[in-house]
Symmetry: C2
């Protein structure tokens, strides 16, 4: 089952490491840590409380420091950088790929950035500055300028000789790019094609010019979509004049996809996907209090609705007992619709062309839920309070609130999106405000009219 | 901003397509659809209501049918298969890769499966049967048996001649695998290495034997973790005797990562990640009513707590107005902790070794929230109801409930995990039950003791 998410290896490493740390013998810890890949070390550091994290970070081989920094979230990265001298940081990051360095550089102290730039040769410095000139979360920022290009008017044999002369290729090179004299992107050649064709085959017979290049200003999400849609391992990045600027590889795309998804899951709880499991208490508190404060405001709004019906509750105290059910069930049902909508919006599957159909579908589902859940709630209320009219009121109020919930579940995320706000962040708070307010209003309002009328 | 998830291209295609469909002229629709990649067509079909989906599906080129079926969720796949004759299905799927076919085959009618098996040659049929013999969501089910192997006791030149003779390589081949006479996995050679080394270089100088192979029974999640940790494009799959069985490629891993993440986001609302945006109303209803029914049960549980305090509420009706605030804020704060824990568990970052530290951190954050939010709620209550003792009661109850919420946020997902239940699915329901029950109990209980005592 996909649900039984087991990461036995990580958990085992963590336990071993924890035992070794507790015993105070750092030799075994060092040996254990340095058998791991940088990504594994990053994952391990994220799962350690600050004190142990500092100890383990000090034991990581200096040559892995840079790659580890690339593989941890922003919060943890900051805590690791805080433990390093400027010299150590410069040594750690100077050998990173340009795209990884660009990702790190804004988290570094200004003095360190100057040192890093000074330690680079002119070509790499210019490349880094070019990458940094693009907005965060665009293709330009994700690309690595280090690409292997060839001309179309040559043969497999010549290219093979060139590659042998050149030596190692950049990581994840699965295609060479064919460019014009002016460095315009013309197409790509699979390494596979070079290996499976005779030496005298003209290169222009092997060029695939059907795959689109990525525009340097396209958003990271659009980049991820294209990689998924075309099953790419790498893709060329071009500017408006079709000049080849660099190359994006699947490893960066996997990070984008993971972040998008974490964003929906954590965003719904008002959290950032870079949140550190062990962030210092004052910082964790500052981040959470904002979202909780907003929720408190909406809770008072819902309470003020209840406040309007104090006279009614004073007459029938059972209403106070039952009202959380009406409001809560609306919230639950609305959250289901919201979750589907947020995913649909993120995948570009929901828009003006199908919102009516969706709303109509969700209203029908809500009506069926209303009949089923309204009946159950009504019967349970009848049995509990021996009052058929109260049962009728709660059943009707529940059905009404489920209809409100379905409408809000469809319309709130769409409206937020149209206002350029993030449905994954603000959707839940607004939705539950609607379902609380409308739930209390429907239930207590109907009770006032029917039971006290 | 990562938040501004824009998929302009998909949305534009959808609008164009929708307009063309509404105009009833199917020629333009057909042309539009068949400029898209199978994944894009799949995405488009998922965003169409059933009637339009049927029309568009009928216009897709028959040769793309199989790939499109691979790229849609289970629900949509079922609706598309329902539109096809057995012959059409056989024609659509018979050219798929073994791993894709294995993924599809269980959704096919039995008669069709027989036909498909009959249409395959013996080698491919045996390969499919082998893949199907492994459990779903294991490496064995994800692998493609089509791999290119070489011996270690040869040279680059010989391998290049072999590859030219062989012709096309399987998709996403970035390494050849070196095997023994008994087909045991010995290591891998990068295509890059073949291209950048002289023809007379012995193969055994190029073999990378440091990368671990994937065990055929490892879970899909473990496979995804290893791909992330090692930045793999493809990886070999071996059995217990280290015999090479096949190869897993990054495109399947991207699907796993996407599913894991959707599972957390949709699972929290009691939904399955394969849920179709436009699933038929009766089916959508049947799926949702179960989760809502469970939530209704827990809502009655919380209400029964309120029911114990009807006498108290009868005396002080303001309690009914304020009690949803105490319960609701506990739910919000607990949900934040839960979301962090569910992600941490999915990444293997949370376990017995750090739960104490985490709980202590979250209790301190909750205490700070309690002081801040408790004061605000207390002051607001004082201003609203002019009752300092009521203000004190709600402030204290709020603080208590935030502490309960933090404890439940840490302990509920861990306990579920230890019971082999999925924290992403059941965590939210149990957490809000705890925060509702404890919130009502703390607030109404303190009120009874202090205000009526």
């Amino acid at each position: 089952m996909a649900e039984a998410v087991r990461h036995d290896k990580t958990a085992r490493q963590l336990r071993l490491l924890s035992d070794a740390l507790d015993s105070g013998r750092l030799g075994p810890v060092r040996r254990l840590v340095n058998t791991l890949s940088p990504a594994e070390i990053g994952n391990l550091l994220e799962s350690l409380p600050p004190a142990k994290r500092t100890v383990v970070w000090g034991l990581v081989d200096a040559e892995d420091d840079g790659e580890v920094l690339v593989h941890v979230g922003d919060d943890v990265r900051e805590s690791l950088l805080a433990e390093m001298d400027p010299d150590e940081i410069v040594a750690a990051v100077e050998d990173l790929d340009i795209d990884d360095l660009a990702d790190l550089v804004e988290d570094l102290p200004d003095t360190v950035i100057d040192e890093v730039l000074k330690s680079m040769d002119r070509e790499n410095r210019e490349r880094l500055e070019q990458v940094l000139s693009y907005d965060e979360d665009t293709a330009g920022r994700l690309m690595n300028p280090d690409v292997v290009t060839v001309r179309a008017d040559t043969t497999v044999d010549v290219v093979l000789r060139y590659l042998r002369l050149r030596g190692e290729l950049p990581e994840h090179t699965d295609h060479l790019y064919v460019v014009s004299r002016r460095h315009q992107y013309l197409g790509r050649i699979a390494l596979q094609a070079l290996l499976t064709h005779e030496a005298n085959t003209p290169i222009n017979q092997l060029v695939d010019d059907e795959q689109p290049a990525i525009g340097v200003e396209e958003s990271a999400d659009e980049v991820a979509r294209q990689f998924s849609d075309h099953d790419w391992i790498s893709a060329p990045v071009v500017d408006d004049n079709n000049i080849l600027l660099g190359r994006i590889t699947i490893d960066d795309v996997v990070d984008i996809i993971r972040n998008q998804a974490e964003h929906q899951a954590l965003g719904a709880a008002g959290l950032d996907e870079d949140e550190d499991l062990f962030s210092p208490v004052p910082r964790a508190w500052r981040r959470r209090i904002v979202w909780l404060g907003i929720n408190l405001g909406t809770a008072f709004l819902a309470s003020s609705v209840v406040g309007q019906f104090q006279g009614t509750i004073d007459h029938i105290v059972a209403l106070a007992v039952l009202m959380p059910i009406v409001a809560g069930m609306g919230g639950n049902a609305g959250t289901q619709v919201l979750a589907l909508m947020v995913r649909g919006l993120a995948l570009g599957q929901v828009g003006a062309s199908n919102v009516q159909t969706l709303l109509w579908k969700e209203l029908r589902v809500a009506a069926m839920n209303g009949v089923a859940l309204g009946s159950v709630v009504g019967l349970a209320t009848w049995a509990w309070f021996r009052d058929p009219m109260l049962a009728l009121v709660i059943g009707a109020a529940m059905t009404l609130n489920l209809l409100f919930a379905a409408s809000a579940g469809v319309l709130v995320p769409l409206t937020l999106k149209r206002m350029n706000l993030d449905p994954a962040l603000a959707g839940g708070v607004i939705l539950t405000t609607v379902t609380d307010v409308m739930g209390f209003l429907a239930f207590l309002g109907l009770a006032t009219i029917i039971l006290l009328g």
